[in-house]
């Protein structure tokens, strides 16, 4: 039985945007919090913290996001009761985002001139106070543009959650395509919706880069 592609079908796809946005938001916020921890560990004076953070980043940057999704989803099923696809996707994307944001922010922290570290050290500020009052406020400024840029990537990455059965934008498109057999129309619409979400963010990232991209001394 083939259904026509009508307003109901289109609305089904458009309404699924909220799940894409929810998943993106969870992963971005969760990944941001964990990513700050990763960035701080990466730049810590304690060797084993640096090592642990480096290992974490390499693990998540060196394996496909899809495998991470599978491992969290099927891994949690193996451990006992099956986990909700949203929860699995949120966990996997958060862990992944933490690694990438951690590495982006490490770069921003290390971009602050050594003279700033030295001046703060000479005044008797300890490592965490130095970070909080001197380094992070400056690094935060140069981190804004690449962070928004990463958010664009993250929104698009949520489409992989469709594979473990989470009905977000891409999965909604697959469902409608399965009953209408209008792949070009359906996935064209899906692509346009992603573009509408991501294009303003990309523009914002470019504008922010022009504004905050350089370290002022």
């Amino acid at each position: 039985m083939i259904r026509q592609f009508g307003p109901t079908e289109a609305w089904f796809i458009i309404a699924a945007v909220r799940w894409t946005l929810l998943l993106s938001a969870i992963a971005f916020i969760g990944g941001g919090i964990a990513g700050l921890g990763v960035a701080l560990a990466r730049t810590a004076p304690v060797a084993w913290l640096r090592l642990a953070a480096t290992g974490y980043i390499q693990l998540f940057q060196g394996t496909p996001l899809l495998m991470q999704l599978f491992l969290v989803f099927f891994g949690s099923t193996m451990l006992g009761s099956g986990v909700d696809p949203l929860v699995a996707a949120a966990i996997a994307l958060t862990l992944n985002a933490a690694a990438f944001l951690g590495e982006i922010w490490r770069g921003c922290i290390q971009a602050i001139p050594t003279g700033q570290w030295e001046a703060a050290t000479a005044l008797g500020l300890r490592h965490l106070a130095r970070m909080r009052y001197v380094i992070l406020p400056q690094a935060g400024k140069i981190a804004i543009a690449p962070t928004v840029g990463f958010l664009v990537l993250l929104v698009k990455s949520t489409s992989l959650a469709s594979i473990i059965g989470f009905v977000e934008l891409t999965r909604a498109g697959q469902i409608i395509n399965n009953v209408t057999f209008r792949p070009f129309l359906v996935f064209g619409l899906v692509a346009i919706i992603y573009f509408v979400l991501c294009w303003p963010l990309s523009r914002l990232s470019q504008m922010l880069e022009q504004r905050f991209g350089t370290v002022r001394r």
Partner: protein, 247 residues
């Protein structure tokens, strides 16, 4: 005399990789003493003062500041550093904070002084370096000379026992050198203990008790300024002075 000693360095060596930056440095500094370190570039004079507050860690020998030995593994180095003011060649003011906030940060976060008291302290020292009117500006809005005076005020706000100056006028345009040197002379008149890496020989002559001449990581000679400038004892000192004075 011993109670009057604030810094002592004994047989200090420092390496950067295979490069020997300091070799067998022995130096005693008394309270209220003012020392000028000079020497060709790469001679180790900056490294020497950076070892005193352990911005650089030495590899051999002992450094004792006010009765406490310091080194790479010393616990609570921050407690030593807060007693030592440092002024850098490139100012290193915090660009995201106003002049006043630059001066208030360490007193509040290191000494735990309340905000109004820290602000009062900051204004007092900005007055001392004669730029109280710039308190609410950001460092980027100031001239180099003004920035360096703020950096001096920032260090003074910690009420340090010693001030270290690492080529404080080398990054300045000539017309701004004077205002910074005058500020430093003001400190000298208040009996501040000072170690200055500088090539400003006029400054050395007027305020230093001792000039230390370094070359290739070693202290080659030390003498009162009038003696060093008139009759350097070493050949290397003579060559160096010849080059400096020709400028």
């Amino acid at each position: 005399m011993d109670a009057d000693r604030i810094i002592s360095m004994e047989a200090v060596d420092k390496y950067f990789g295979n490069f020997r930056a300091l070799h067998d440095i022995n130096l005693e500094v008394s309270r209220r003493e003012r020392i000028v370190l000079c020497g060709p570039s790469g001679s180790g004079k900056s490294t020497l003062i950076r070892c005193i507050n352990q911005i650089e860690h030495h590899d051999k020998g002992r450094i004792i500041f006010d009765g406490m030995e310091v080194g790479a593994h010393t616990k609570g180095l921050d407690k030593v550093r807060r007693e030592i003011g440092m002024v850098f060649q490139s100012f290193n003011l915090f660009p995201h904070l106003t002049v006043l906030e630059n001066c208030m940060l360490a007193p509040m976060k290191v000494r735990g002084i309340a905000k109004p008291a820290a602000a009062a302290l900051a204004r007092e020292h900005l007055e001392q370096v004669r730029i109280p009117e710039q308190a609410d500006k950001y460092p980027g809005q100031l001239s180099g000379g003004q920035q360096q005076r703020v950096a001096i005020a920032r260090a003074l706000c910690m009420q340090p026992k010693v001030m270290l100056f690492d080529e404080p006028t080398s990054a300045l345009d000539p017309e701004m050198v004077k205002e910074v040197l005058e500020t430093m002379i003001g400190l000298a008149e208040n009996d501040m203990t000072m170690l200055c890496v500088t090539h400003e020989m006029g400054f050395a002559r007027s305020v230093a008790h001792r000039v230390i001449f370094m070359d290739q990581g070693e202290i080659v000679e030390e003498a009162p300024p009038e003696e060093f400038f008139a009759h350097p004892a070493s050949e290397r000192g003579r060559v160096f002075l010849g080059q400096i004075l020709r400028q």
